[in-house]
Symmetry: C2
Subunit: 396 residues, 2 copies
């Protein structure tokens, strides 16, 4: 099938496309209620969008008491590819233009194998999804990587956990391979975009999205837009000092949050506890698998293991202290906690909440929800699709 290459010609068209993306099929009249354009002007813009085939007619809408309106929807053949490259696994999903997931695969993979190997993997996963018949090609792709990105060019810069990627032209390369526009961003930012689009943050303009996975990062949304900082490293909170003179960290400092709590740190602590026989639950699991991860800690905690619960609580306290500082500074309307360790669930959340509500002033915390992400592992890929759709649904 021929891929769509058209772009909205002006801000009005872009606005309409986004309304259709976020609100699904809509009648012309309903669109008119939302955009403050004259009937004639609206008709003209819709007609032009129909010409570009970005949107299509879609039958009649229900009557609102009079003549029934013709429905308009985004072209149902449009397909976006959402790619979320984590430290230890890759998620690839296909969405339609409304960013609904049509297919989703996850595979373990170490990002340190480098961009070439990872891309091969990603492309084969994309091919596998295509083979199921849900897509014949892609109109755009969004991709998240676990490190800072020079956003306009889509190039990772000095990413600590993926050294081989520094300066690799991800956007350019993937665009070549896929033959469609590509946008690249930090995986944490994409999680924030995902939760904003389809998750808990739908109605909030300013919020923080803390992702606790192999590392710890924080997506920052200001006025509905992701804030990336001067060099693209905004939200890199894993190396904020959480414990004075604490554990040494890979970054060269001591006491970094990430050194004390993250998927990796938690696995280490759990292993130590198991070896020292402080936790029967964890010891059993270590024996069984030969290794421990955050998932084991979650399971042990669910089984009531005191040591596992302590580990989670302590980590939550540390994280909560750091977040408390960020809340004082940023005064967000919402804090979302997500990432691989959300399996730790309410024990973690309770610890974080306690620290934040205690450590920040009432004016900042008074009406501040602190919640787990709604979307789990799909947040990243939805965010990735959202990223590229935002790009494509803006004036050329």
């Amino acid at each position: 099938m021929r891929r769509m290459t058209a772009r909205p010609a002006n801000a009005h068209q872009a606005r309409l496309l986004r309304l259709l993306r976020d609100g699904g099929p809509n009648s012309r009249a309903q669109l008119g209620d939302q955009v403050d354009l004259s009937r004639s002007k609206l008709a003209v813009e819709v007609d032009r969008l129909l010409e570009t085939e970005l949107v299509v007619a879609d039958g009649l809408a229900a009557s609102r008491g009079g003549r029934r309106s013709h429905n308009i929807r985004l072209n149902p053949h449009l397909r976006f590819l959402g790619v979320d490259i984590g430290a230890t696994s890759v998620d690839v999903a296909v969405t339609n233009a409304e960013l609904e997931i049509l297919g989703h695969i996850n595979q373990p993979m170490d990002v340190r194998e480098g961009p070439v190997a990872v891309f091969e993997q990603v492309l084969s996963m994309a091919a596998k999804l295509k083979a199921t018949g849900i897509a014949e090609g892609f109109d755009g792709a969004g991709i998240g990587v676990p490190g800072p990105v020079r956003f306009p060019e889509g190039i990772p810069v000095a990413p600590p956990i993926m050294p081989g990627w520094d300066g690799f032209p991800v956007r350019e390369a993937l665009s070549q391979e896929l033959g469609c526009p590509v946008m690249v961003d930090n995986d944490v930012n994409l999680m924030a975009l995902g939760e904003q689009h389809a998750g808990v943050a739908r109605t909030v303009a300013d919020f923080l999205c803390v992702k606790i996975g192999t590392g710890i990062g924080c997506g920052i949304v200001v006025g509905g837009e992701v804030y990336r900082g001067t060099t693209g490293s905004a939200g890199d909170i894993g190396h904020i000092q959480a414990v004075p003179d604490g554990r040494p960290c890979a970054c060269g400092n001591r006491g970094c949050l990430e050194a004390h709590f993250s998927g990796a740190a938690l696995a280490l602590d759990a292993t130590e506890a198991a070896v020292q026989q402080r936790s029967p639950e964890l010891a059993v699991r270590l024996e069984a698998n030969g290794t421990l991860s955050a998932v084991d800690v979650a399971a042990a905690a669910a089984a009531g293991d005191a040591t596992a619960l302590d580990l989670i609580r302590e980590g939550g306290n540390r994280t909560g202290q750091v977040i408390a500082g960020l809340v004082s500074f940023f005064n967000p309307g919402l804090v979302v906690i997500g990432g691989g360790v959300t399996g730790l669930g309410h024990t973690l959340l309770a610890a974080i909440r306690t620290q934040v509500y205690r450590g920040s002033l009432p004016l900042a915390t008074g009406n501040l929800p602190i919640v787990l992400g709604e979307l789990g592992p799909t947040a990243g890929v939805i965010g990735a699709a959202r990223l590229i759709s935002d790009h494509l649904f803006s004036p050329a």
Copy 2:
């Protein structure tokens, strides 16, 4: 004199007004180079602005190789009032429309005397400035208060150090008294606006402006706009924990940055050092004045007093640690240090720099200037004038 009440009728006019404000008198042709409007359109908009008397003709410009152009400038009779209410003193200044200070008074005053007393003071200071003949009335006023503000309404909310002000309709009241539009903001945000307009931050889109005075606050500028947070308390970094289990703070917690370093904390530490005879310089000054302030510490440090230097260094280290966290999180393009204690100067700056450059990742600090504010005590009042001019020079 009749005050100007006109406002720009559209975005083009607003743009032109801001260009004239920031760039001073300009020829029509030069304006044309900057705004991407057709000559005819530009001429129309300029004519309309001339009609409103917001701008006036101002003689002929130098030739650029052909016919000389007629200069345009903002009406030289326009006057803005900039008010900066600190914890212990009040600054009032009068500016022209280009935000140049024409007159400036500072008077000590305790903000805790409440809004009525402070307003009386402010109005009498404004009257005094008027009496010098630099202004016959005011076309707008900006006012900064040392606490969080609900910005759209211009009402302080739950300000810790000025309890009597909670909920007081500052904007409304002052607008009544002065008979002109008024905007209210946090004093730290105004300092940031001031440094952005006329100081070190002229060319930077994303920066932090840390003000160390009686308390500690931080102005946040994102994409050239001040970010105020969900409830107007963004930047309230004085109560971030800097020392685990540190000194008790007025807010109820322990170890807040403000409890360990600020104008007030520094005075306390200095007095203690003097009483304990650890610092001859400070002891002499205590004897002479009966009390010590940050200024005395600065003087003692300048005289080479080791204890004073230590106090500054330690405070700088604490502040620097907190800023290091903020830099990791926010990835600014510039950090400005200002406020009453900037007299501590380079000792303080050096300590802060050391901590930030050590405590944040290279990607965030690599090209990050950390500098003292350029404007000193005028930053606040210039920022206040900028605030109201931004408001007035935007489409009605």
